[in-house]
């Protein structure tokens, strides 16, 4: 199976050529020249993929610190990378806000920063990153065009919020402003992503939930919860109010002051009516709320729903496909960024690490808890046919589904909520964000909290 897939892949060289020239066309003549150089670079990179012994000796003492949130920066992945690459990769976990604060205030204590699109934008502004030379990334042309071109199978991907594509490019390696359109320099390299929605208890809610407005349905008063991370919690709320037909946002991911006011005022009203049992900030809190029976519907992440089910409690991840210009998932994507201080051998090692990351092992690993790899073609090599069909195709499992650590998760016949991977990602209607009015929004969110 594995060999067959590899054989069916087009040769990397021919594909590289196509993409690099593609991107060159719409940038400038200079970029075309650069891409010619890029080709030479690719040839060079390929020559060293065998990790010659000399290299292996040189890099043995290198240690890379990959820092980010726990669901994206996973120790098991770092351990495997260290084993495969011959140098040490250390994974360090911080919560979202501690992570961005560290990247910005102590950039030299981090080698690879794990950032979301909006964090990539912030970190770029602060000048703590260096551009990733796209031509050095072997699988770059196989990364889904959702990220690299902002489109998927010919359709433009939503630009509400800060889409990965929007945050992805800069015009030169030390630029501090994002660049609209494809360039040879990336701010971050997408590595894991998903589409967030709601979770609910099918034994207590006797109907199928496919719309966000159910979260604010008075029928579930005192049994609903919402995410309490201001920047994304407000988007979940916006999806609810839009779904209920109360308002139409120009851009849910970058609201105007009056849109923020409307959203927060409605949240305060709902809070006073007792709609929300609680709010949650961490993965575990959301699992606990649901598993302990405190709430029966809440905004939730896909693996958290799975975690509730592992505890023996029925829980469904609501498929909120876009309908009539409403609904849709809130997408997020974490990627790896190179810190500015990396140079010489350490920088080479970092590029090797990025290339390893997209080569499939990690994609297979994260698939087993419901997240996706930006390069599904390599992840597929590390999944069984049953796993691929279950996680990516949305087909019923033909055998027991195990989590990344080998613990049984789903029985044969189980089907993933939300359908196939393509159905999910094409129904993303907004992305995690940091609004221009972030300061005002935060203040208003605190109003909601203190109300």
């Amino acid at each position: 199976m594995k060999e067959k897939l590899e054989a069916s892949d087009p040769t990397p060289e021919s594909k590289t050529e196509a993409t690099v020239t593609d991107s060159g066309v719409d940038v400038s003549r200079r970029a075309v020249l650069k891409s010619a150089a890029a080709l030479a670079g690719v040839a060079g990179t390929q020559a060293i993929t065998g990790f010659p012994l000399i290299w292996a000796q040189d890099i043995k003492n290198i240690e890379l610190r990959h820092v980010g949130v726990s669901y994206s920066v996973v120790k098991a992945i770092g351990d495997q990378a260290s084993k495969d690459l011959g140098f040490k990769v250390t994974m360090q976990n911080l919560d979202t806000s501690a992570a961005i604060n560290r990247f910005v205030t102590q950039p030299n204590t981090v080698d690879i920063a794990d950032v979301e699109g909006w964090q990539a934008k912030l970190a770029t502004k602060r000048g703590v990153l260096q551009g990733i030379e796209v031509k050095k990334i072997k699988e770059f042309e196989n990364i889904l065009p959702i990220f690299t071109k902002g489109e998927f199978s010919g359709k433009v991907v939503s630009r509400q919020g800060i889409s990965p594509y929007e945050a992805m490019y800069i015009s030169k390696p030390d630029a501090t402003e994002l660049h609209e359109g494809v360039t040879p320099w990336a701010t971050f390299l997408p590595q894991v992503y998903n589409a967030d929605s709601m979770g609910y208890r099918p034994d207590l809610i006797k109907k199928e939930i496919t719309e966000w407005k159910e979260l604010i349905n008075p029928a579930y008063k005192g049994k609903a919860a919402i995410l309490d991370v201001p920047a994304i919690g407000i988007m979940d709320a916006a999806l609810c109010f839009e779904s209920a037909g109360e308002i139409k946002y120009a851009n849910k991911g970058n609201m105007t002051k009056s849109e923020i006011d409307f959203t927060i005022n409605r949240l305060i009203e709902l809070k006073k009516q007792g709609q929300f049992r609680a709010t949650w900030t961490t993965f575990d809190q959301s699992v606990q709320l649901m598993a302990a029976g405190e709430v029966i519907i809440q905004s939730m992440w896909s693996p958290a729903v799975a975690a509730v089910r592992v505890k023996g409690m029925p829980c469904i991840y609501a498929p909120v496909n876009i309908k009539n210009g409403k609904e849709g998932y809130r997408g997020w994507c974490n990627g790896m960024a190179l810190m500015k201080h990396l140079s010489g051998k350490k920088l080479d090692a970092a590029y090797e690490y990025l290339n390893w990351y997209l080569s499939g092992w990690q994609g297979g690993f994260v698939a087993r808890y419901g997240y996706y790899s930006p390069v599904p073609s390599t992840a597929k090599k590390f999944l069984t046919a049953n796993e691929w069909d279950y996680w990516y195709e949305g087909k019923p499992a033909t055998a027991e589904i195990l989590d990344p650590y080998g613990v049984p998760m789903e029985k044969p016949g189980a089907k993933r909520d939300g359908g196939s991977f393509i159905e999910r990602v094409t129904n993303i209607s907004c992305w995690n964000t940091l609004m221009d009015e972030a300061q005002y929004m935060n203040k208003r969110w605190n109003d909601f909290k203190a109300a």
Partner: protein, 318 residues
Amino acid sequence: MTTGITDTISTGASSEGVPVETAFAKKGASSSAGRSGGMAWLYVSPLVLILIPFFIAPIFVVVVASFLENDGFGGMLPHFTLANYASVFSAELTLRLYASTVKFAVLTWAGTLIIGFWIAYFLVFHVRNQLLAIGLFLLCTVPFWTSNIIRMISWIPLLGKNGLVNSILISAGIIHQPLEFLLFSDFAVVVAYVHQLTIFMIVPIFNAMSRIDKRTVEAALDAGASRFEIMRYIIVPLSKNGIALGSIFVLSIVMGDFFVVKVMSGGGSASIVSALFEDIAVLQYPPAAASAVVLLIVVVTMIALILRTVDVRKEIAR
């Protein structure tokens, strides 16, 4: 001034023929003043060496940051502005945050004071065997061998909708619907705080009470005082210092905390620090710094007021 004092000391010490008593008196009087000399600086230097890098410098940075402009992307522009303070003082939110935080602080203070006072009283006046008293006192510290967070989180399965308390009450037929106010409410926040902080009341009050001369109580009894009068005229006034010290611990901890509020209120309440934490999460440093400075001033004022009622130096020197 320094020289003046040194002169006094040297004259005091060197002048012969001065009666011994006067020499002693002079030494006694001038010794505290004399510490501000070179030797005194040497004495305080370890403390100063710790305080400057770990206390003075960070606060200085925060104060400076609070007057800077914010570029919205985590950058601070070196332009002096009062806008951060203006927005802190003009927002209704500030008032509500202080109201909610002060409410938690006062309720927690009352809870810890009542429980802490009676535990200390029991240990000092009712446990005759001093060894046993100290043993029981140490027992009070056992829960503190584990982390604050674990002690707080262990309340959740107890107070939840399907938690222990609700299930017991329902199965006993006392209630028919689970009591929702038990968890994710202000009640839950105060319970967790009281659980966490009572020890900070017990220790100083225990300390103050064990210094009360038991013969005073006996004398009062012999003179016909009632239990209430003994409490009111002897125990409470003599434990005042301990109560004040305990109050400082409890109030300053609650005022500066946000995690308990966040978890136990289920995110339903906010505190001053939780609000400024949200600012830091998106790198809005100057507004966060301004509200930190305001909070610092408020807490320092609070503690200063408490200290007016008690002479801590006397308490420690005793």
